[in-house]
Symmetry: C2
Subunit: 153 residues, 2 copies
DNA sequence: AGAGGGTAATGAGTTATGCTAACGAACATG
DNA sequence: CATGTTCGTTAGCATAACTCATTACCCTCT
């Protein structure tokens, strides 16, 4: 079964890693389904939220860049950006060097909404916290940046 | 922006937790989108895969139980189970004690498919491994069971 | 300069996958 | 045995992604 021996020192732990990925995949899928319902703003889809988060980190980006980062096809991103613009959460400006492209930036309104969103998430977090002990939380804090890296890889 | 003040007492932990949850949410959403594309069997949706995984762990379950575990409404589970049955991956039997309910069990074919799926995931895992160091993998291994617990909470 | 190939964003139409509402059959309780 | 409850299902609908095709623009090569 485990004939695939990577260069990296996975070694004996290959089976354990496979199990971990298995658990990870299942948990991520189910968690994402729950997060969908837990959305802080009813009028914003999860991907729209994610785009705003990306913009908050990057400052600005073109629709194409956003599509690649969110692993969505360009037409979908067009729609998403249009929605966000209609809601006054992002601004579209012409690209300085390339007139084919556009530059998407978040508005002050979006920033305020993200702040509000963070507050609401804290409430949800507190509720969940009752079911986890300190070690488990520590594990999540440590893993969070790794998961982000994984999502980008 | 980055208000990282390590030694500040109470509020700081809360802020760290909020950041972690923030990162977690974003990463989970994007990862789930990637996993959708990474499906090992083209003809199976992510939720269908997840149901098979649950069945592999539990042995058997009623549609209602499955719906609760997957955080899906009963009608959705009806459709998913019907799909799986049509593909010969599960078997539906009458409940021994309650004739309203049904018992869903996985077939040998499903078991073989899951094994195949595990092999393919190992390949994906190896590819991803090149982007993570040993510490990061350790973090994921530790967090995987916690994420599973979180998904169930 | 102009032609041709490549890339960005978008428009239209389709598909996938979840939901709610309403229903019939089987149980449980007075 | 009458009544309310639970389980699975059917029907209809909403959302959000996708693919394919189109338009506008950039860039290189002759």
């Amino acid at each position: 079964m485990l004939t695939n021996m990577p260069e990296l020192s996975l070694g004996d732990d290959a089976a354990a890693d496979a199990d971990a990925v298995n658990a990870l995949r299942s948990a991520v899928m189910r968690l994402s389904r729950r997060l969908k319902h837990q959305r802080v703003d009813e009028s914003l889809s999860p991907t729209e939220m994610s785009v705003l988060g990306t913009l908050a980190r990057c400052g600005h980006a073109t629709p194409g860049e956003l599509a690649r980062k969110e692993h969505v096809q360009p037409p979908s991103m067009t729609r998403i950006v249009a929605m966000l613009e209609a809601k006054g959460l992002v601004r579209l400006e012409p690209h300085p060097d390339d007139r084919r492209q556009k530059v998407v930036t978040q508005t002050e309104q979006a920033e305020a909404m993200l702040e509000e969103s963070r507050r609401k998430r804290n409430a949800w977090l507190s509720e969940l916290a009752s079911g986890l002990d300190e070690d488990e939380w520590a594990a999540l804090r440590t893993a969070a940046p790794v998961l982000e890296k994984l999502a980008q890889l």
